[in-house]
Point group: C2
Chain length 446, copies 2
């Protein structure tokens, strides 16, 4: 179902190519392992892995086109021998990664690539871009789903996402943690997501009176109308909606709902609910859409707002409070030697690793242990799966509903304290004894 356009290997920082050229000149082709992880986050208790499918699809088709090689030639930076080498370059490596929808925590390796140095280096920028944003959005969206406490959420962010494919990634990333759908028609088509949306204020303004606009819309969409009621006066809008809804009822149709898009959502929703109920329209839902994210949703639900579903837009679409993750791609092993970086405040865990997850007696998450990939840790589940071997995907990509189900299962096992929107709480992530030994030996070896 998913249609991902080819990005191509020029989606990279120039330094990946200059390093590659120098590795080529120096005949440095040994295997290197790079590890992707998120450094400490100050505002999120947990993160949700997302974006892997895009990474794997692109790497399977990794190759330079003649047009791309020609551009590189024209930069004047690269030798003909290196250009010829790039022409034949394919991604032949192995990748271990967290399946999409898996909960994880800072410092944990979420993806590790092992491949000849040039291959593993050259894909850095692409992998970080692809995994980082989707993971960030899915993580923010998961908090919204929790805050909404069972009420459906729909992605309304497309007009203010940071560009076009951000819009697609937000639709996908929010869906995989439990959003019900999106307003984004292209995402609906590409990912098979439910799409929703009805009318804007301009529609109301195009008619002489609000009630005429509602009636006209109901003629076209008798079974799927949601009336936007705040263009002039929200309560008057609710009464107009009720009038039209009753006429629809007489013809055998039900108004799905009304939408609030401005003003005091708590007070207005209660008044609108009363107006609808008094008209006997108990089934007409109240939707709300005005700058919502997890904080606003939590806040108005705590005040008993009568809102049945939320349209969630800009703040989630750009992850406004945390607009980027400090996600990095670090060399941890090269030429059979573990590598550890120790720049000021930036430590990397050397070695090929695995995350081992341990549950408590009630089936709830207890602790994670980062170990070496071949560690054996009792009563703990290894989370990173081999998803690519010799450049080929291991098995099919999971369907989005399956990823959504995985997230749901994961999230159900997260103790309540970590789900808090406001309280910061660090999940216990330890290092295995053998991994600690590797770090010490690596330090001594420098």
């Amino acid at each position: 179902m998913t249609v991902i356009r080819r990005i191509g290997p020029l989606f990279t920082d120039l330094y990946e190519l200059t390093m590659a050229a120098s590795y080529f000149d120096n005949q440095i082709f040994s295997d290197a392992t790079f590890s992707v992880f998120v450094r400490e986050t100050s505002r999120r208790n947990y993160l949700v892995a997302a974006g892997l499918e895009d990474v794997l699809r692109e790497l399977e088709g990794f190759r330079f086109s003649e047009e791309e090689l020609d551009y590189l030639r024209r930069t004047g930076l690269f030798s003909e021998a290196f250009i010829a080498y790039l022409r034949d370059l394919r991604f032949t490596g192995t990748i271990y990664a967290l399946p999409e929808g898996t909960l994880f925590f800072p410092e944990e390796p979420i993806l590790e690539v092992t491949a000849p140095m040039i291959e593993s280096q050259i894909i850095e920028t692409f992998i970080l871009n692809t995994i980082g944003f989707q993971t960030n959005v899915a993580s923010k969206a998961a908090r919204c789903v929790y805050a909404a406490d069972g009420r459906p959420l729909v992605d309304f962010s497309l007009r203010r996402t940071q560009g076009q494919d951000a819009g697609l990634k937000v639709a996908r990333g929010t869906f995989l943690v439990g959003f019900s759908g999106t307003s984004n028609v292209l995402a609906g088509k590409q990912f098979g997501l439910p799409v929703s949306g009805t009318m804007a204020h301009s529609y109301i303004s195009a008619f002489d009176r609000e009630i005429e606009a509602f009636s006209a819309f109901a003629e076209t969409f008798p079974e799927s109308s949601v009336f936007l009621i705040d263009t002039y006066d929200t309560l008057e809008g609710a009464r107009n909606a009720a009038t039209v809804a009753l006429k629809m009822k007489a013809k055998g149709y039900n108004l799905l709902g009304v939408r609030l898009d401005s003003g005091d959502m708590v007070a207005l929703s209660k008044s609108v609910r009363t107006i609808l109920d008094q008209a006997g329209l108990l089934d007409v839902k109240i939707f709300a859409s005005s700058g919502f994210d997890e904080f606003e949703i939590m806040d108005i639900i705590a005040q008993d707002a009568k809102i049945d579903a939320f349209g969630v837009g800009t703040k989630v679409g750009v992850s406004a409070d945390v607009p980027y993750l400090d996600i990095v791609y670090k060399l941890v092993r090269f030429n059979r030697r573990n590598i550890r970086k120790l720049s000021a405040g930036k430590v990397t865990l050397a070695g090929e690793k695995q995350i081992f997850r341990r549950m408590d007696g009630k089936g709830m998450l207890k602790e994670d242990i980062i170990g070496l990939r071949d560690d054996v840790i009792a009563d703990a589940e290894p989370l990173l799966k081999k998803v690519m071997e010799n450049g080929c995907c291991v098995g099919p990509h999971p369907a989005l509903p399956d990823i959504q189900a995985r997230f749901k299962t994961n999230f159900a096992c997260l103790p309540e304290a970590f789900k808090s929107i406001l309280n910061r709480r660090h999940f216990s992530v330890k290092l295995s004894e053998r991994l600690r030994d590797v770090q010490q030996n690596t330090d001594r070896a420098r």
Copy 2:
């Protein structure tokens, strides 16, 4: 030079299509004018228009493909008659807009579309997405250029932008306000931008000793090397760089520079400058790249850091302090009647408008007057240009260097007080008498 892929009309919120279907059923085809503007911004004294070329290219080719129509049919929402109507739909409207690179201020109309209602409505989401993000990034980047006070800046953001085309838009948007280039190779190819970049920490780690890595790199790139010197110890790195630079010099080559990527940039840059100078390497530049945006750049320059150029990444690439603009697309005229929206706290200026810019005696910006499009305002220049007529572009798209030049000219006329990074200052934006009359008459008519 620019290659923009077709986005297609499904890049839209569903409600644009449901409204269109209802307009179609009700035979509402009169001309509508929508106005794009940014509501108050709390942290920016000025904004820079960007993204227009993408809008115009897409609208010239606006049409639904059979595959897209087929998807819409499968949603079950639309009649066959409406699908047939969409098949023939083209964008036939007229657009007035600020040329890219023009300075503007909140509440000012930066783009106005006039077209039959369905055409002008259906493109809302696409226009907001395309103009909003590029304008936001260009505006943030302009502040960086000002803070850098003549030092070159290079876009390093690609790994952490919100998706792929965000990365391209950041490279373009930063260049058009004066960045020197980008690390983004694809942007280099698509937009003809200078690309730069040399090595990462992993390159250094792949060699037994740092100095070997520098030497090996200099063999491959004798004329364009910048050594990253903070992998182990920055000052030791500077000494190693100096040693290799002197060997290069003996062969007739000059090391371009060294790069700092962590630690106390002020102190380190001064010590590194001393090391390089004492080795007689007065021409070797010091580049820095570690979480910079206008605030950090201003800060370390104020402390006399010896930094010659900056790599600017994540914080600018996502516009971290202002990750979205409150940009809107509002109906201001329909069927020869001006329209004004008055929802709580959200006022829209009715009518087809123009921005008139007035300079003072010294050629500096004095005030803007928002007027009706056919206003005649003495000693003021109308800023919105007719860029599309009957669906066709009026003239060629300006080249990026020309946009950069326009921005430079604009910025030179902005009084110093408004350029401040920290101080908030509102530029004077007035309404013309005739525009005020229209607002009052529109209110009275409701």
